[in-house]
Amino acid sequence: MTGVKLLLTAGVALLWAASASAQQQQQAPRGSADSGRKLYESFGCYQCHNRAAQGAGATGPRLAPGPLPFQAFIQQVRHPRYEMPPYEAAIVTDQQVADIYAFLQTIPKPPDPKTIPLLN
């Protein structure tokens, strides 16, 4: 049951991600991807979203490639919809959120599944 519920959450987030415009992406504050990579680990983002931010059906949606627009992203961090625990500014500063966001923007697209023999 939980898995199915959270899969729905993942689906909603994906739709959200798909609607992100390039303009919104540019509104993100400058962040350090290197710092963000470390923060992604230390703040435990990977526990639910996995180490490559690819998400997990049962626990958390995919975050990258193509993350949510920054404003929606930070809104989700501070006042999450669904199951995600809230990260307030006292715990994760706006700059740290920006760093994590910068890291997520560096994650490349996956290979085309048609090029992976085990998926065909």
């Binding site: 049951m1 898995g3 199915v4 519920k5 899969l7 729905l8 689906g11 230390s42 703040f43 435990g44 990977y46 526990q47 639910c48 996995n50 180490r51 490559a52 690819q54 998400g55 997990a56 059906g57 049962a58 626990t59 958390g60 995919r62 669904y82 199951e83 625990p85 809230p86 990260y87 307030e88 006292a90 715990i91 996956p110 290979p111 085309d112 599944p113 992976i116 085990l118 998926l119 065909n120």
Partner: protein
């Protein structure tokens, strides 16, 4: 079945004991007679011969002789009873309270039907029987030591209870107060042995006579195997096991014939009403949870779904419906539920949870997912077996039609009622719906294939990669995935091809830790008899609760491929602590304390090898996994178990 151990040369051993014993005795005698120390080496040659008086005293028959042996005991008769039930295996960790029964099973019963399996923990014995029942479709037995053994076994019995799985549990007690030896026999004796697990077993008894045992044993089997199936407990009292059984007493005993009960079917009028609703519905949805009790359940559900051209969501407490069938829409559950005008739930485990969402924040809020006016129909046997204390029955939810009865047993009459209610016009409308659903299924499968490509080359490995590397090696075999809940983060259910009743074993029921490995071993035992390849994706936290089941697997040569989903943590618990830390605004940097299994990392390959199981890994490079699985499979195909340890992503 067990491996042969090197035998001790019994003749030499006895000779040594006899000579040693004689030497000590005679030396003592010589010293007493002469007052001189007996010199080593001269005792045998120079010992005096017994006098005529001494010989007469030794040969004299006393007036009353204590009887120290017997030909037949109550435990032998108990074995006769169990043999009539067709139980193939009995798993046990040894315990003195059932010493007579154990000896009777292995000697008097010739260790056949049931064959005695050695386990290293009572929890593993019961979990093994639980897993076996999922594949064999019939109970296996577990025997657990009085008091302390049952305490160990209790969580596994709870899992079987929550999963409504038939398991026969034997336990014992040392007997009446004047029969117990001082000390440990008292600590292991109990007035009402089964009370410990009565809240979560279907029936129990402690027979007071052998005839009572015969009747209760047959009753227990019938009760356990009638829907809702569940564990039962028989307490074999020590004196009843060990007391000699004389021929004249034995002649009076009878063993009742086992005649299985028919399974309870739903009320026919309610079934017809349901059929009308389903046929008239624009967006019906069938949700199957603990539905399939036998392999016949799957074709029945296919028939119903195809008649209605209705989508099926399989919640997978059992293998209910082929995952690649065009009407299987398990990955679209909530979307379909929100549109459904009629939902038919087959053996729902948690109806409230199916149709409501609850958010885990400080204030827990819930919302109904079904649209207003949607009709909810259930067919299930849950309310036929409900106890008060433990709350596995879940939150109450209102239904529009609630049919009490076994869903599988009720299915033929529902199919017949639907066939009668269908008109030709309606059939063509339903066919159009089926076409749309088939297209949606195709799109959904393509989407999932794309999802699997994310982090495909990552290290630690993604669960999608792990699952597909395994699938590539087994898809040509007659395989059975025997891990609890499938394993692999759900990826096998998305991209493998499940279409046979034995293709997976569902979950543990109660989510009690330590079920995974021994349940897999039990299921693999049932598969072994049927010539199938058993594979199990094990999670590290659960695995380490009962790793001794690996030894059982090696000792009894139960072939199974174990692939470790080794994420080096109790990751669900990490997330819980993280949630609390965030809620309290204290940061998550200590969430790993008490939740991770690292520093040092456990070497599962080495652990496997220490118990006689082929072990490989840890695998950290995705490219190495396929060859490692292939190598391990060669071992499994030779009839032995093997394990491949894989470092994986958290979820």
């Amino acid at each position: 079945m067990p491996r042969k151990l090197p035998e001790i040369d019994r003749r030499k051993f006895l000779k040594g004991v006899a000579v040693g014993g004689a030497a000590v005795g005679l030396a003592g005698s010589a010293e007493a007679q002469t007052g001189a120390p007996a010199a080593a080496g001269r005792s045998l040659a120079k010992a005096p011969l017994p006098s005529a008086a001494m010989r007469a005293a030794e040969e004299k028959v006393p007036a009353e002789v204590e009887k120290l042996t017997t030909q037949k005991t109550g435990s032998d008769f108990m074995v006769d009873v169990v043999k009539t039930l067709g139980i193939d295996y009995l798993a046990a960790c040894p315990g003195s309270t059932f010493r007579a029964l154990q000896e009777s099973f292995i000697n008097y019963g010739a260790n056949k039907q049931p064959e005695w399996l050695t386990c290293l923990h009572e929890e593993a014995s019961v979990a093994m029987a639980h897993g076996y029942s999922k594949i064999a479709g019939k109970p296996m037995a577990a025997m657990v030591h009085g008091t302390v053994g049952l305490q160990h076994a209790s969580m596994a019995i709870y899992n079987a209870w929550c999963d409504r799985a038939p398991v026969i549990v034997f336990t014992a007690s040392a007997g009446a107060t004047d029969d117990r030896r001082p000390g440990v026999e008292w600590a292991h004796s109990v007035q009402d042995g089964a009370s410990l697990v009565r809240d979560f077993s279907k029936w129990d008894d402690m027979p007071w006579s052998l005839q009572h045992f015969a009747e209760s044993m047959v009753r227990a089997y019938k009760v356990a195997t009638t829907a809702p199936t569940a564990p039962v407990v028989i307490v074999a009292e020590g004196k009843l096991q060990e007391a000699p059984l004389h021929a004249d007493e034995a002649k009076k005993l009878t063993i009742p014939k086992l005649v299985p009960n028919t399974q309870p079917q739903g009320d026919l009028n309610a079934v017809r009403e349901t059929a009308k609703l389903l046929v008239a519905a624009e967006n019906p949805l069938i949700v199957a949870d603990r539905y399939a009790r036998t392999p016949e359940a799957i074709p029945l559900l296919i028939k119903l779904a195809e008649l209605l051209q209705a989508p099926v969501v399989d919640l997978r407490a059992r293998m209910n419906f082929p995952n690649q069938h065009p009407l299987n829409h398990s990955d679209r559950f909530r979307a379909l539920l929100s549109q459904a005008d009629v939902m038919l739930a087959l053996e729902p485990v948690d109806l409230y949870g199916e149709i409501n969402g609850m958010r885990d924040q400080i204030e827990r809020t819930s919302r109904k997912i079904t649209k207003p006016g949607a009709k909810i129909v259930t067919i299930g046997s849950n309310d036929l077996l409900i106890h008060a204390n433990y709350q596995d029955f879940q939150r109450f939810e209102t239904q529009d039609i609630s049919i009490s009865g076994d869903a599988e047993a009720t299915m033929p009459s529902l199919i017949e009622a639907v066939q009668r209610a269908l008109t030709d016009n309606r059939k063509s409308a339903l066919a159009a719906r089926g076409q749309k659903l088939a297209e949606a299924k195709k799109e959904s499968t393509e989407r999932l294939r794309g999802e699997a490509a994310y982090a495909w080359d990552a290290s630690p490995l993604s669960l999608a990669r792990l699952s597909m590397e395994l699938w590539a090696q087994i898809k040509g075999e007659d395989w059975s995935l025997v891990s609890s809940g499938g394993g692999g983060g759900g990826w096998p259910f998305r991209l493998w091809n499940f279409d046979k009743a034995y293709h997976h074993i569902g979950g543990s029921g109660g989510s009690g830790m330590g079920y995974g490995l021994p349940a897999s071993v039990g299921a693999a035992l049932a598969n072994k008899e049927r010539g199938r390849l058993s594979v199990s994706i094990q999670t590290d936290g659960d695995f380490m609760i009962s790793p001794g089941a690996m030894w059982t697997m090696a000792h009894h040569q139960i072939p199974m491929l174990v692939v470790m989903n080794n994420n080096r943590a109790y990751h669900q618990e990490v997330m819980h602590i993280q949630r609390m830390a965030n809620r309290h605004n204290r940061g998550v940097d200590r969430a790993w304390i008490g939740t991770t299994i690292r520093d040092p990392n456990i070497d599962y390959g080495q652990l496997a090898r220490s118990m006689g199981v082929f072990g490989e890994g840890p695998i950290t490079d995705p490219k190495d996994l396929g060859p490692a699985i292939k190598k391990a499979l060669e071992v499994v195909k030779r009839g032995e178990p093997a394990l491949v340890d894989v470092y994986t992503q958290p979820r």
